[in-house]
Subunit: 451 residues, 2 copies
């Protein structure tokens, strides 16, 4: 099988491949709200089946279904697994989108829509790569497994029992993770690990209803209680104040630091894109990069209380709620961090706050010198014509630890996104050019993995 | 003119008097949003004219119109002025209302709707009292002026130039303020002063858009900045931390303290109604009452940032906004407090926050031993059959200082509301029984004022 034939096939079918992506983007699948989940899982299964995959919809005791697909090779016993997710982030704030968030509208060579990059674009690019190999060669060179879950964006809270129950089904020699792409200079970026995440909600409740703010000297205010409680979690020098939060934090190895030094960190472009004069605490260069990848965080994702309309309203709110996420690094454990958070609030007199755990995943990394890492890097360089940039870990999160640590194989994240994709933000998009190149990259990677 | 004849007339016309109130409640007039203002001002003028008032709609350089009405007596040179407002608080949160907020629906002997008590109920009760006197006696015993403004609920930001320009028009011997009512034991409550108020909004803006929360180690978070800034304004022991905030605070006089001791503070009922085991900082009795009336405050009215929908979203918000009000006591000055707030934020490194002033009024009080106070108290006792409870000041706010200090006459607040009226909260209402009694009280007061 010649790669030239593969690439020609991809180019000849580019329009229909884009249509397939648009079809999936048009199907809402917001896991946080449970919106369109079942419909999207069925669509994903159908797309796998159409290409020739045997499929299975796996339903755990609770949570959204996992769509599994496999196609066996007659030529090889080796297996590569693709981890993807069909769920997306909520599209809000809606007013900041230039088109409907589930329109899949094509503007200036980009497909717009929530999920266009994260992760529907990557998923469909991988599917189209397999389709291309089957069409051109009549077979796949290795066994291929697709694992497409529906709760990645809410912290994959129900995945662990599924992975443990179907351990054999998900066995593989290596896995490609859901995200990745090229940077502003067209270099393919590979990621070897993920931070963990712990998503929580803090709720303060005081009186049974809102009252006139003239009562402020005697009636407790839920917004104030929540502000004071949050202030106990992180100070303005960005120190996380939860007792024992930094215990178990593993500093980067000298090998990792060396890797960091090779990462061309495009901070000026990033700052310019976000209209920032400087990064937080004026960090820059290696220091900023190291913080991004190795620093655990505590982030307010949202806060609401009382009157938030136009003008003013002299009201004293009885309820307040804040959503937070903690990004964790090896060897922090989300369960322990949750316990430390609850203890910390209690110790400082905020035991009245309700602390709700929305989801969590553990941090994990694949070693830089793993042969699979070398293989992916080599293929990426071949396809993109530029040396791959290796990130020992990403700043992002996901349930990679279940595959890397529990199922026990190397995992590398590499994909077809681009730096202006607006992931998790309004106007998420995927460049069609990047998408098509991504299909070629995955087709090549599967071929190389067979050698 | 016999008071018996007056009371009979009121009872005989109770149904039509309620209809007049419902008509006004049905007209939305939310000053914070500029909703229905012009229509409401015209309706108020029409209601005054229908009774026989000469009217004038006064438009300042900006802001909502003031509706003025007067009716002159042939028997007396004395003048009483009624200060009311036709604007109302925003009705939100809408989902907590048992009926449409502008329905004026009657349920179990109460008229429900935003403004039913505050202040449309009081305004119409006064109007109906004058109507009754005119119908029964053919004349009013003293000159009567109605001053009905449209920005009370947003801090009357444009009233001062109007008062100064029409100084002569608003001259009077005494004024009855917009609010008041009976307490849980049916005792009429009179209020001789108001706290000042300063309404502000704090806005934090960081990057040009929301980003994925994985970027938290390097991208500033507007929600955190606002939490830290708010934490600089008040600590959890309720101390307001703005430098110089408590300068000029006048403690209550021994005469006022004596008055406080006579106020039967129904704290258990209040706590029970709000589902509270205890007041803020476990205050009770005289200490709680004194705090309510004499303690200046800093209240978060609302806070919004980032994702506030269902579940979780790993987003880092670039904008955050909080609305606050400060309740001020003599001799604090809202303009000075605003300057101190801005300086305080700047001094502590939060000069990037936008500080918007939404409105302000100054604190003021009429002395307890003023003859008008004694007159109102005597009339109230006569009508309600119970000794009036005198509050040297209310915990609330309004532009009373312009009448009391600038126009220079005594001002007492006395009205027809009741303790479960849910002022500024969902399900605001007015008991029809209280409303009818209030009409009789005002008719009697006007008669007594003529003696």
């Amino acid at each position: 099988m010649s790669l030239e034939g593969v690439y020609d096939y991809v180019d000849a079918h580019a329009d229909s491949f884009v249509e397939d992506l648009v079809k999936l983007v048009k199907q809402p699948s917001v896991s946080a709200k449970g919106e369109g989940i079942e419909e999207c899982a069925i669509l994903v299964e159908k797309m796998l089946q159409e290409i020739g995959f045997s499929t299975k919809i796996i339903r755990g005791e609770k949570g959204h279904p996992v769509v599994y697909g496999e196609i066996r090779s007659e030529k090889s016993d080796r297996t590569i697994l693709f981890y993807d997710h069909y769920d997306v982030q909520p599209p809000e704030p809606l007013e900041k989108w230039m088109c409907e968030p589930f329109s899949g509208k094509i503007i200036n060579g980009k497909v717009y829509g929530r999920g266009a990059s994260d992760n529907k674009g990557n998923f469909v690019s991988r599917l189209k790569a397999v389709q291309t190999l089957l069409e051109v060669a009549g077979d796949v060179p290795v066994n291929i497994k697709f694992f497409v879950e529906g709760e990645e964006e809410i912290g994959s809270p129900n995945l662990e029992p599924v992975i443990k129950k179907y351990r054999d089904l998900f066995s593989a020699d290596a896995a490609i993770w859901e995200f990745g792409g090229t940077d502003r200079r067209g270099r393919p970026n590979l990621y070897l690990g993920l931070k963990g995440v712990l998503s929580v909600e803090l709720k303060a409740s005081c009186a049974s209803r809102d009252v006139h703010s003239a009562n402020a000297p005697v009636i407790p205010n839920a917004a104030w209680r929540l502000v004071w409680a949050l202030n106990l979690l992180k100070d303005k020098e960005e120190n996380i104040l939860i007792e024992g939060f930094y215990d178990n934090v593993l500093p980067p190895s000298s090998e990792e630091i060396e890797c960091l030094e090779n990462i061309p960190f495009e901070e000026e472009e990033f700052k310019k894109e976000l209209g920032l004069k400087e990064f937080l605490q004026n960090k820059s260069g290696l220091k900023a990069l190291k913080a991004l990848l190795y620093q655990p965080t505590c982030t307010i994702n949202g806060f609401i209380s009382g009157y938030t309309g136009k003008g003013s309203k002299t009201v004293l709110p009885h309820e307040a709620s804040a959503k937070l996420d903690f990004r964790l690094v090896p060897n922090q454990n989300p369960t322990e961090i949750f316990q430390k958070l609850v203890r910390h609030l209690k110790k400082h007199g905020f035991e009245d706050l309700e602390v709700i755990k929305h989801g969590s995943t553990e941090p994990t990394r694949t070693p830089i010198n793993d042969p699979f890492v070398k293989l992916v890097a080599k293929t990426a360089e071949k396809v993109y014509g530029k040396k791959a940039v290796i990130y020992p870990t990403s700043a992002g999160s996901g349930p990679m630890h279940l595959f890397r640590n529990f199922l026990g194989y190397p995992v590398v994240s590499a994909g077809c996104s681009h730096p202006e994709a607006n992931t998790h933000a309004p106007n998420e998009n995927l460049k069609i050019e990047s998408y098509i190149k991504g299909i070629k990259f995955i087709a090549t990677l599967i071929s190389d993995f067979a050698l």
